[in-house]
Symmetry: C2
Subunit: 200 residues, 2 copies
């Protein structure tokens, strides 16, 4: 990058570490911020510090929360007999938005991908098997991972690990998404949609 | 956005104000930051605060600097008889990188665009005319604005304003950029390149 005053260079360096942000985009952010009132800079700075200070990880489901026992795990209205395994904390928000699931969660923290260093001991596989073993009232584990190569591998691995505990292990249905056209559906999805057809 | 702990929501809101960043991108940034060491968050927070505290505007050329008299304006090796008018502070870095220009600068702070509220009194047109009037040793003013509609309008306007002071007013040459092919050059650029041809 070209010569700018040090405070600009420092912030550009900090922003450049964000995913998908290069020095040019970072510089654009900085020049935008320079035109804003100084209070906006303090607000962003405070939000960053608070993120580091206040966000913790729930000790049971490993989601990000302001407490070590998250709102979902401690909600007496939730059904503790069903645990939904998701890849990341943000997937919980996506599933919660459907208003369909009333059970608890388990955040895996990634999917199996040995080339990228994501081996079974790096993601929280032991934590979910331990939890299932310790809680005899867990009757079903829903594997809600994305149907990608790594997601499928992880679900297959988890299913084998959990099978020995004798609980029901399920996965999300595959089928046509709302608004899809038959013409452009791939054969695997369409095949699964046919196999999983429902009476109307 | 869906329900997340307040510190996450706050930072997403702050990041969403950056240009080209929506709630989804902001959330991606926040989840990336959550996986980084806490020291990284403090570094970014400190850089933000320092940007607000340390960056000032040069009183002569209006570029961003750590002082109110910038390094270029106070450099005795620079030629004070030529002033280059640019749109934004960052354009100075681009021109400096060429190592061709040794004069001083004037940052306009935008180009004329009345629909967006950029009228002659919003950008620093009075400041440059006042500066030219006060400094009789300024012999040439280079208008280094982008050859877009708004840039051209602004250059035309500035040229009229500056004409009465009897100094040389020039603009950047139009021609083929390095690596261009004649086949795809537009007729205006090619016409100007022909008119501005040089002996070799």
């Amino acid at each position: 990058m070209r010569r700018f005053p040090q405070p600009i260079v420092n912030l550009v360096a900090a922003f450049s570490r964000l995913p998908g942000v290069g020095p040019k985009t970072a510089l654009r952010y900085v020049f935008y911020l320079l035109k804003q009132p100084k209070a906006d800079l303090s607000v962003m700075a405070r939000a960053l510090v608070e993120l580091g200070e206040k966000i913790q990880v729930c000790e049971q489901c490993f989601t990000y929360s302001e407490r070590t026992d998250c709102e979902i795990c401690t909600d007496p209205k939730r059904d503790p007999s069903v645990v939904c395994v998701v890849e990341e904390s943000r997937d919980i928000a996506t599933i919660e938005a459907t208003n369909v699931f009333q059970g608890l969660y388990h955040v895996l923290g990634g999917t199996l991908n040995p080339i990228e260093g994501m081996t079974p001991d790096v993601i929280r596989i032991k934590e979910i098997t331990d939890r299932v073993e310790a809680n005899t009232n867990i009757q079903e584990i829903i594997l809600a991972l994305s149907p990608t190569i790594h997601g499928e591998t992880t679900m297959m691995y988890l299913q084998k690990q959990l099978a020995r505990h004798g609980r029901r292990v399920s996965r999300l249905a595959r089928g046509l998404p709302v608004g899809a056209t038959l013409e452009f559906a791939d054969e695997v999805t369409l095949g699964d949609a046919l196999k999983g057809r429902r009476g109307i």
